[in-house]
């Protein structure tokens, strides 16, 4: 048994060494390409404008998040329309892994990176490295902090602050005489969760709507949203007239908790964010009243279009907000059913 183990370990070590050596060889080649591809002056000659295909990298915050997996698939599908080729990196929800993914993309000599950051502050040194290497930097979905705008060429995304405001306004419009609601937050500490809650809170607190309780989750997990709603139901019971959940998948859990408690979801006002399949279906079924949708197709295409423009030497707008979609039972027919 021991002899077999040693043989297996020996073979594995040789295999790892061969891969490492091959990898080293690739890196040497790519490393020489970086300044040629990356520099703004060099891009026109190197990519040959629209005639030569350039490689771009989408650094996905976490492929486990369905919206980001969908965005990744869109980059892969539509890159060729802009004479680009997309490679995808998965940061798996880890800010450190995301920074090293940026470095890996730099080493691979990509022309542009789009970063969907796990932590907008932790990613800044890696963005600086990309800028130093002359790579086009696009921020996707979440922008860099105020004051660090020079580290990116452009930002494309929805305004999560606006999403929070829209949610608050929806409650105010639906309950002109006031109401009592609860808030189930997204992943605590995530940029989207912070902005959605941060923008929702001041607007709602200036109205006659009382937020009975607000609790964030550890992850964007339906089950956690369900457990929090279970506890809210115990604590506030029939006082709850509406629920704001930071994402549609979480609202699915909220609806399950309300069903389990025998509460009528159709008599309540339920608002989610995302415009995902779950949200749109729930609006269609009448169990959700509003989903504030993100148009990932428009976001991905806009990112690719801006990259092509920069590669072709054009000046682009730095901050590009894609309008939010407000999907309600009245407007649902205006939207195509989402793919994620």
């Amino acid at each position: 048994m021991k002899l077999v183990n040693k043989k297996v370990i020996g073979v594995l070590l040789v295999f790892v060494m061969v891969i490492a050596l091959a990898g080293c060889g690739d890196k040497t080649e790519n490393a020489t390409e970086v300044p040629e591809v990356g520099t703004v002056e060099g891009t026109e000659t190197n990519t040959g404008g629209a005639t030569e295909e350039a490689t771009i990298a989408f650094i996905c915050a976490d492929m486990g998040n369905p919206s980001q997996a969908y965005a990744s698939s869109l980059f892969e599908a539509y890159a060729k329309d802009y004479n680009l080729k997309a490679v995808i990196f998965n940061a798996a929800g880890d800010a450190q892994l995301e920074a090293s993914s940026v470095q890996q993309a730099i080493a691979q000599g990509v022309a542009a990176i789009y970063v969907n950051p796990n932590d907008i502050n932790a990613i800044l040194p890696a963005l600086q490295e990309a800028k130093d290497a002359g790579i086009i930097v696009g921020m996707f979905s979440s922008d860099v902090p105020v004051g660090s705008e020079d580290l990116r060429d452009f930002f494309v995304g929805v305004d999560d602050n606006q999403a929070g405001v829209e949610a608050a306004n929806a409650f105010i419009a639906n309950f002109p005489n006031g109401a009592k609601i609860v808030e189930v937050g997204g992943q605590a500490g995530h940029d989207a969760q912070i902005k959605r809650h941060g923008a929702f809170e001041p607007v709602i607190s200036n109205s006659n709507i009382e937020v009975l309780g607000s609790q964030a989750c550890d992850q964007w997990s339906t089950d956690q949203a369900l457990a929090i709603m279970d506890d809210f139901i115990v604590k506030y019971g029939d006082q709850i007239e509406g629920v704001f959940c930071h994402w549609d998948g979480g609202l699915t859990g909220v609806i399950q908790a309300l069903d389990a408690a025998g509460m009528d979801t159709k008599g309540m006002f339920l608002v989610g964010i995302d415009g995902s399949q779950s949200g749109v279906q729930q609006v269609k079924d009448g169990t959700q009243d509003l989903t504030i949708g993100q148009d990932f197709l428009a976001m991905s295409k806009k990112s690719l279009e801006l990259t092509r423009d920069v590669l072709d030497g054009k000046t682009v707008t730095a901050q590009n907000f894609i309008p939010l979609m407000l999907v309600t039972p009245e407007t649902i027919d205006d939207f195509t059913f989402p793919e994620w």
């Binding site: 183990n5 964007w220 997990s221 279970d230 506890d231 604590k235």
Partner: protein, 325 residues
């Protein structure tokens, strides 16, 4: 004087043995004073529902820890089984899909054990890293099958999922279905642990592997069996999880392994293996559920909840080590 010393010693032992239980009782007391709804039947049902999925996985983990190992792959296994079951509901029906899911759980457990045995990773630390790697792989496979999308029963299924709704929301008498599944599982697993040769072999393997081997205990078979039990229980947990939420995403089980290990250790099963019981894990799981239930009712933020859970795990392991030293 002697009597005083003895009383002091007994008090110290009790304090050491039950520090966490006393702490939780204080938390429960504070919660029931601050939030009278804590003691209502609605909250008891709520606790019972939340108890189901966690305890099922924790019971399986108890055997792995009893044998002196650990299984961090429960996170990945749970997600992958849920994806497989979801994909099979339309083509083969609800109950066959559940059964195939449970069979896959056993298969993943078998695979885990063979990887551990083949790689010669016979310490808990080695098993920890191997099963962590396997968990990542299982999540990757699950995401590949689901194309990274959230799978939602009401959208992705064309056939009925009433059986899952029954498992998620149904009751038999005063007990939720997940609680009934737990009762059946605990009876079988307790019988296995205390009344069968293999159950006792698991304990001996965890106590001292070398001595167990010399005594003729089939330790490799014990390892295979504990990982298979853990896989099967994780698969049953997956079915209960997905029945409750009616959706499947990789985020559904993130952090589960921490809560599961916390439940086993808080219950009093020795992390080093060889001592403990599935019955004790029930108390551990109840404590884990009560912590988040009480803190949610008290309006304590998720950050403090995480800090508390982490601190309790450290204290539990420290006390465990003190006791065994």
């Amino acid at each position: 004087m002697t009597r005083q010393i003895r009383l002091g010693s007994v008090f110290n032992t009790l304090l050491k043995e039950y520090t966490i239980v006393i702490g939780i009782m204080v938390l429960v007391l504070i919660t029931s004073i601050v939030e009278p709804r804590f003691m209502t039947s609605g909250n008891m049902i709520n606790i019972m529902r939340q108890f189901g999925p966690l305890i099922l996985v924790a019971l399986g983990m108890t055997f792995v820890i009893l044998a002196g190992f650990i299984d961090l792959s429960v996170t990945g296994q749970l997600f992958l089984v849920a994806v497989i079951v979801m994909k099979l509901i339309d083509p083969i029906g609800q109950i066959p899909a559940m059964l195939v899911g449970v069979a896959f759980g056993g298969l993943f457990g078998y695979f885990n054990s063979k990887v551990i045995i083949f790689s010669g990773a016979l310490t808990q630390a080695e098993a920890l890293f191997i099963t962590y790697g396997l968990s990542t792989a299982y999540i990757g496979i699950g995401q590949m099958i689901s194309n990274g999308k959230t799978m939602n029963m009401s959208i992705d299924l064309t056939s009925s999922y009433s059986m899952f709704q029954y498992v998620g929301l149904g009751f038999i008498g005063p007990f939720s279905i997940s609680f009934v599944i737990f009762l059946v599982a605990i009876v079988i697993l307790y019988f296995f642990q205390s009344k069968t040769y293999m159950g006792r072999s698991v304990m001996l393997t965890g106590g001292n592997k070398t001595a167990a081997r010399i005594a003729g205990i089939p330790i490799y078979r014990s390892i295979t069996i504990v990982y298979m039990i853990c896989g099967i229980m994780t698969a049953i947990g997956a079915i209960v999880f997905m029945s409750r939420a009616t959706t499947v995403t990789s985020a559904m089980s993130i952090g589960l392994e921490t809560d599961v290990i916390l439940a086993v250790v808080l219950g009093g099963t020795y992390l080093g293996g060889g001592r403990g019981s599935v019955l004790r894990t029930i108390i551990g799981a109840l404590i884990v559920i009560l912590i988040s239930n009480c803190m949610n009712l008290l309006g304590i933020t998720i950050f403090w909840q995480d800090i508390t859970r982490g601190a309790i795990l450290i204290i539990a392991i420290w006390l465990d080590a003190q006791k065994n030293n």
